[in-house]
């Protein structure tokens, strides 16, 4: 039993860590711009296709992951300047715009790549066997990278000037502006960074699963559950919520089954909404 619990925990932590990457960008964009970017899953999808295309051109996996994510981030900046800046602070309008963009991006992927499942060559093979717990190396890599990226993101927000300005804008945009922060710059930067994180998550998961135009839907759904769980706009909430969701899912679906697990997770979310409407960690960036 102890052995099984350890395996459940490891599985949950690894899948949870990838949920966190998607949720972080989603919650940050919502915190800074008051925009619920429901196209966030499609930026994840683009990151996965980015890795696929770049490795097809002979690039190594890691350069492809990085370059792909940067391209996705840059595309996010363009989308913010073209579309999202007009709906900042108007959550319903933003939601509709994002849903529209999501449909368009999926359709574009379908036109360009077709409905087929594409595979990205795995950077590592094999399974790490620790006796009681076995972890495939590629998942270990994904988990490690995800935690590394979380740490970098934390340092960025805490110790850099732009990171500080992002937190300030999230808390009080007008007062941040009179300190000399240009809000439009922070909006574009935050949106781009959020999309870059989603792109990284997509690129990390691409070799684990397959790539098709609809792969963004599932992580988007998870990210939404996580930010409700952790508190909309809350960075610590996204981390705690993501890991909690990963572990809860792993626990329930190993010990009971997948369907019951989905139900129980949903029940957990409803419970949080009723007991703590502001989420586990409240709203602060």
């Amino acid at each position: 039993m102890g052995q099984l619990l350890a395996q459940i925990l490891v599985n949950g932590l690894i899948s949870g860590s990838t949920y966190v990457l998607v949720a972080l960008g989603f919650t940050m964009i919502s915190g800074i711009m008051r925009v619920l970017n429901f196209a966030h899953g499609e930026f994840y999808m683009m990151g996965a296709y980015g890795v696929y295309v770049l490795t097809q051109y002979g690039l190594g996996y890691f350069p492809a992951l990085l370059i792909g994510a940067i391209i996705v981030g840059a595309f996010g900046v363009v989308m913010e300047r073209l579309i999202f800046r007009w709906v900042i602070g108007r959550e319903v309008n933003g939601l509709i715009v994002a849903l529209g963009l999501s449909v368009v991006l999926k359709a574009l992927a379908l036109i360009i790549f077709g409905p087929v499942e594409l595979a990205v060559t795995r950077p590592v093979h094999g399974t790490l066997d620790l006796g009681s717990v076995s972890i495939p190396y590629d998942r270990l890599l994904v988990g490690g990278c995800a935690f590394g990226i979380m740490l970098l993101f934390y340092f960025f927000l805490t110790f850099t000037r732009v990171g500080l300005a992002m937190r300030a804008v999230a808390q009080d945009e007008k007062i941040a502006a009179i300190q000399g922060v240009r809000p439009s710059f922070i909006h574009a930067a935050a949106f781009g960074l959020g999309c870059l994180l989603a792109g990284l998550a997509g690129g990390l998961m691409a070799p684990i699963y397959t790539v098709n135009p609809t792969i963004g839907e599932l992580p988007m759904g998870k990210a939404f559950v996580i930010v409700i769980l952790g508190g909309l706009g809350s960075i610590p909430g996204a981390v705690v919520g993501g890991l909690l969701l990963g572990i809860a899912e792993s626990f329930f679906s190993t010990l009971i089954d997948g369907t019951v697990s989905a139900m129980l997770v949903f029940a957990l979310v409803v419970l949080v909404i009723i007991v703590r409407p502001q989420g586990l960690m409240g709203r602060s960036l």
Binding site: E117, D129, S134, L218, E249, L255, T259
Partner: protein, 385 residues
């Protein structure tokens, strides 16, 4: 440049239109998932329509009775959803005045659209749609053109018992948690028992699942000799194979359900996919298959899913029935379908009409049945008796 292109197009149009006084148009409608989970099968459906259209029109049309017909086709996307399948059926009948339709693929869509086709006396060639209800109630205009588990599960299990019976005793079945999955699970539970296998676990998972580790942790603990991915989508099946191998599972895999060798190989990776067995509706090593696959690749830029061949055969049967009837009146065509059977598949082997014992009427096309074993990235094919 654009201008000259326009002129050229107009000119080409004139030439094409010139002999129009002789030709009538035969419209073939399609309903398939072109954007969702079943898009691979939807594209195979659309591709079959386009290929039949292409070859008939290139040959100057098809002579039915005293008329020569050119074929035109349109396939509507139902995104694997029943309400969209109904909308597509209505649109085909009301706007396009379709009398012949291929699809839908999803059981729910086929069941929902069934009364519409029956009422309007439109021949509907259903593809996939693994549900008994599609064939119930003695439909007059509905034919199912692809094999379903009812047709192929027994031959496959008989073959398996004869060839691997000593090695495979404990079996685990995994199905998606929806109507198709439930039907499949019920049928497999019965069939595995009848063939003397020990079904140690039956798992229903949510269709959106990608991380099967938790489920597999539990299933592998049952020490199965074989995991059957049954009604799983090919991509899900591939992920199950890969993740189970990574978790140290050493037993066999089979997928007695909707085919998708390419997707399984892609999702599982060449190494993990080695030795995976699956139901295959056509033998890819035949000349007929290869030729059709090349034509498909020209249209879509990637390999053909085997189900396209079944669809292609079904459309050829339909056209043969029209010629036999000497008419495109649906009553006459429906009556002529049994007369053109058995029909030779382009990939060899006979397609016959059956289904009376299972569904109450002979409206089921029974196609040749194969099992493909993934070997070094390719498929080793065995035909079932």
């Amino acid at each position: 440049m654009t201008r000259s292109l326009l002129v050229a197009t107009a000119f080409a149009g004139l030439i094409a239109a010139a002999p129009a006084h002789a030709d009538k148009t035969l419209f073939l409608g399609g309903i398939g998932d072109l954007s969702g989970q079943g898009a691979v099968w939807g594209q195979a459906l659309q591709g079959a329509l386009r290929m039949v259209q292409q070859e008939v029109n290139d040959a100057g049309g098809i002579k039915i009775g005293n008329e020569t017909y050119k074929i035109s086709t349109t396939t509507y996307d139902d995104a694997y959803q029943s309400q969209k399948a109904v909308a597509a059926a209505n649109r085909l009948i009301d706007q396009d005045e379709a009398k012949f339709v291929l699809g839908p693929l999803a059981a729910s869509g086929a069941i929902a659209a069934k009364p519409i086709f029956e009422q309007n006396q439109v021949i509907d060639l259903v593809v996939g749609a693994y549900s008994r209800k599609v064939m119930e109630g003695n439909p007059k205009y509905i034919f199912r053109v692809s094999n379903t588990p009812v047709e192929f599960i027994k031959p496959i299990l008989t073959w398996l018992k004869a060839n691997n019976g000593d090695k495979i005793k404990r079996v685990v079945v995994m199905n998606p948690n929806d109507e198709a999955g439930w039907d499949m699970q019920e049928l497999e539970t019965k069939s595995y028992a009848e063939h003397g296998f020990d079904l140690v676990a039956k798992e229903l998972y949510e269709r959106s699942t990608k991380d099967f580790q938790p489920i597999l942790t539990r299933l592998i603990a049952q020490n199965p000799d074989m995991i059957d991915m049954a009604g799983s989508s090919p991509a899900s099946a591939g992920l199950i194979v890969r993740q189970a191998r990574e978790m140290g599972y050493k037993g066999k895999f089979i997928k007695i359900g909707g085919p998708g060798p390419r997707e399984i190989l892609t999702a599982a990776g060449k190494e993990a996919a080695e030795g995976v067995m699956q139901y295959i509706p056509a033998d890819p090593s035949t000349e007929g298959y290869k030729k059709l696959s090349e034509r498909f690749a020209k249209l879509y830029g990637h390999d053909m899913d085997p189900s396209a061949l079944t669809n292609y055969d079904a459309l050829k049967i339909l056209l043969a029935a029209m010629q036999k009837a000497g008419s495109i009146e649906t009553d006459k065509v429906a009556a002529a379908i049994p007369q053109v059977m058995p029909f030779k598949s382009i990939a060899g082997g006979d397609i016959v009409l059956g289904g009376k014992s299972d569904y109450g009427s002979d409206h089921q096309f029974i196609n040749p049945i194969f099992v493909g074993t993934t070997t070094d990235g390719g498929l080793k094919i065995v035909q079932m008796q």
